[in-house]
């Protein structure tokens, strides 16, 4: 087929393009991510038994704010990277600020703790399973967000994949906060971060293959 004929084929019988493709796709995949992670958390791990009491403490909300802010930053980045030629832009400061705040808090806690309490503060009770639990909760969101991004024609596949993975895992971490008993920023700064970065790294690797269009 000559290029002129292809131009004719593509332009013949076109219908108006509906606006808001990104909003529609993320409007489907974000609820899947949030509900999927919450349902998995409730069935596989269960709500923490003292939830009624901890929701009255500020530390619970500070803990929730950490992945929530990261999720907002990752969403900004993902929405932009999903489309041709866009860069991370405003997503960077929104993603890095919560991490810095938690790390500063963690360093203060570890430095001011008695030497024998330092390692327990970091390791908590669940450091072995925490990152993998978050990875599990991120699975539905990971798939749904990859679907949304692929349909919006990303051109930096590894970055778009990493941002998608981080978005899925930070939403999963918000859900995980309702199960996880760990209440020290020193723990979050390492193990929540690991749990969120694992799917992001996976996204960078898989994005190259599965986001191609």
């Amino acid at each position: 087929m000559r290029t002129d004929d292809l131009v004719g084929l593509l332009s013949t019988g076109i219908t108006p393009v509906r606006r808001g493709a990104a909003a529609r796709r993320f409007g489907i995949s974000l609820p899947i991510a949030a509900l999927g992670a919450t349902a998995l958390m409730a069935t596989v791990f269960g709500l923490r038994p003292d939830l009624d009491a901890v929701v009255k403490t500020p530390i619970f909300w500070e803990k929730l704010a950490f992945p929530l802010c990261l999720a907002i930053g990752a969403l900004l980045a993902t929405v932009r990277l999903a489309r041709p030629g866009a860069k991370v832009g405003a997503g960077w400061p929104v993603m890095t600020t919560p991490v810095l705040v938690v790390w500063i808090a963690a360093i203060m806690i570890v430095v001011t703790a008695a030497p024998k309490d330092r390692l327990p503060a970091i390791l908590g009770h669940s450091w072995r399973s925490c990152p993998f639990n978050i990875l599990l909760l991120a699975v539905p969101g990971f798939i749904a967000i990859f679907w949304a991004v692929k349909g919006l024609a990303p051109t930096s596949l590894r970055l778009a994949g990493a941002a998608s993975g981080l978005l899925a895992s930070s939403i999963a971490t918000v859900a995980y906060c309702f199960h996880c008993p760990e209440m020290s920023p020193a723990f979050w700064s390492v193990w929540y971060m690991a749990g969120m970065l694992l799917p992001a790294a996976l996204g960078a690797v898989l994005g190259h293959k599965f986001l191609r269009w």
Partner: protein, 181 residues
């Protein structure tokens, strides 16, 4: 490409609103820009230029819902063209690492260059590989110029099914093109 921004953008935005003739002018003008762009970038692969032009046209068409009128069209098109060019380099590198490079002298009289603007691969033939629903919808609406309603009557599909089939068919076509590139 930059001086053309304003004119191309007007045509493209009209195309997004459903104006076929403006969209056609956009694609024709884009074709010329793309040829120039690619001939400068892959001068040694002259024969691949037209295939790549067609890849990029298909990609631009299939991704047109992702364009936002508040951004420069040049940047958006350039990102897609660059993405497809990189894809082409990757596929080519993979192909050449799998096969011994062909000895040129078998090929030397194989094709004449009467028509340098001809694509080597025939997108029209690739249409034949699509499932009936998609192939017929594209045939009736895109090649024979029937309306969606007429195509719906001929194929027995609903109008929205015809539209969806065209959309999916062109995406599948782009995927075929990518696989055999």
């Amino acid at each position: 490409m930059y001086s053309a921004e304003q004119r191309l953008k007007t045509l493209f935005v009209a195309g997004l609103a459903g104006n076929a003739s403006e969209y056609r002018s956009f694609l024709s003008e884009l074709t010329r820009h793309l040829r120039g762009y690619l001939r400068k970038r892959i001068p040694q692969l002259h024969d691949d230029v037209e295939d790549l032009v067609q890849d990029i046209l298909l990609a631009v068409h299939n991704a047109r819902h992702t364009y936002r009128p508040d951004e420069p069209l040049t940047a958006w098109v350039h990102a897609i063209a660059r993405y497809k060019l990189m894809d082409f380099f990757r596929t080519r590198a993979r192909r050449e690492s799998l096969h011994e490079p062909l000895d040129e002298h078998d090929d030397i009289f194989a094709e004449s260059d009467d028509e340098p603007a001809d694509a080597r691969r025939d997108v029209g033939k690739l249409l034949g590989h699509l499932p009936d629903k998609q192939r017929l919808s594209i045939l009736h609406v895109k090649l024979q110029g029937l309306s969606v309603a007429e195509a719906a009557q001929l194929t027995g599909l609903s109008e929205s099914a015809v539209k969806v089939s065209i959309h999916r068919g062109l995406k599948a076509l782009a995927a075929h093109v990518r696989r055999i590139a």
